[in-house]
């Protein structure tokens, strides 16, 4: 399990990158993070929305209420053009940290 600080710091790149794969809503996003991280990253459900709303306020994502197949309405989030740019910056920074650690620990670094 990640520490609280790391969860907070990584939520932005994770959310943006998930939405880069297409629009999604809160519940689905949490499921996806849980699944992709093999349970290592566990977001508490109620805390996700403040983060999403903040990204929206910063103009990195947009949202829209839409009817799902089940007939229920859900609030869908999708990436804005600014968000798409922000991913590049995030990617650069996280890979820089990652690659430095890999070198220190003598693991093969991820390709960029």
């Amino acid at each position: 399990m990640l520490t609280k600080d790391l969860v907070a710091a990584s939520s932005k790149p994770l959310l943006l990158s998930i939405l880069a794969g297409g629009e999604s809503y809160g519940y689905e996003i949490i499921q996806k993070v849980r699944e992709l991280s093999g349970g290592q990253i566990e977001w508490s459900d109620g805390m996700l929305y403040p983060v999403l709303h903040r990204l929206e306020r910063d103009g990195l994502i947009d949202s829209e209420w839409k009817e799902a197949d089940t007939g229920r309405e859900r609030k869908y989030y999708f990436l804005s053009s600014d968000g798409r740019k922000a991913i590049k910056t995030e990617r650069h920074q996280w890979l820089a940290v990652h690659n430095t650690l890999c070198k220190l620990w003598k693991i093969k670094p991820a390709s960029i």
Partner: protein, 260 residues
């Protein structure tokens, strides 16, 4: 179904909704979103074979205590509001120096260039050596600093208006969808206005530079102010055009001038 007679799922959700509604920090839109989340989680647990009561309890636990959720939303909102809290002084709630430092390099260089040109353009003809204008005007035209001065004034006005009338962020705990949409539009339009405010005066300067070059006479009728150097387009056309190109290519990593 045995379980449903003992446990009324809809009543439980209603109760939960009321508890959530008691939180002053949650906007109706936030509550609606949280409820769709709770229902999604319940449906998922039901699919996994849990009964209504178990599904509800687990989902409720997952979403978190209403009070705790309310506090988290406050944290997120105060962080946003904090950016808009007035810092006092005549600049109201924007810090020119801080925003200047956070701007892209191209924009900063352009701001300094504009400022220098404007000050020189205004001060030198008055304070500088005699007949200075006679020497400058053949190369720069009548208004050497016009485009830059207008750009400075226009962008400053836009920033000032934006700071004076910030978007509908302040009552953030009571934001509705319409508020957010309006806020988004407002922020976007300010950004575009600013770009226009910087680039339009330069474009006007270029247009004038091109127009006047065609019309000016070959000789100066003995008037030094009518002399046109063949190098004049460097100042009136080439340099403004270069600035426009540079400003258009500058990274737009800041949505508005006031957010650091």
């Amino acid at each position: 179904m045995e379980n449903q007679t003992r446990f009324d799922l809809n009543a439980a959700i209603d109760n939960w909704r009321n508890e959530l509604a008691a939180q002053p920090n949650l906007a109706p839109d936030d509550r609606r979103e949280l409820e769709t989340h709770l229902r999604d989680a319940i449906a998922r647990f039901q699919q996994q074979g849990l009964n209504d009561e178990e599904s509800f309890c687990l989902a409720r636990h997952r979403v978190g205590q209403p009070q705790q959720i309310g506090e988290e939303f406050v944290k997120a909102n105060t962080a946003a509001v904090g950016a808009n809290v007035p810092s006092g002084g005549i600049f109201m709630n924007f810090n020119l120096y801080k925003d200047f430092l956070a701007a892209p390099l191209e924009l900063r260089v352009f701001a300094i260039f504009s400022l220098v040109v404007t000050i020189l353009g205004l001060a030198l003809p008055i304070l500088g050596p005699k007949h200075l204008l006679e020497y400058i005007i053949p190369f720069t035209g009548w208004n050497p600093a016009l485009g830059y001065m207008s750009g400075l004034i226009m962008s400053f006005s836009i920033i000032y208006i934006y700071a004076k009338f910030p978007p509908l962020l302040l009552p953030s705990d009571k934001q509705s969808m319409a508020h957010r949409a309006l806020h988004h539009l407002y922020t976007k339009s300010v950004t575009w206005l600013l770009r226009l405010g910087l680039i339009a005066p330069l474009a006007v300067q270029i247009v004038f530079g091109l127009l006047y070059d065609d019309k000016l006479p070959d000789n100066n009728f003995g008037n030094p102010y009518l002399t046109v150097s063949p190098w004049r387009p460097v100042w009136t056309v080439l340099i403004p055009a270069l600035w426009i190109a540079i400003l258009l290519m500058a990274p737009q990593n800041r949505r508005t001038p006031k957010r650091a």
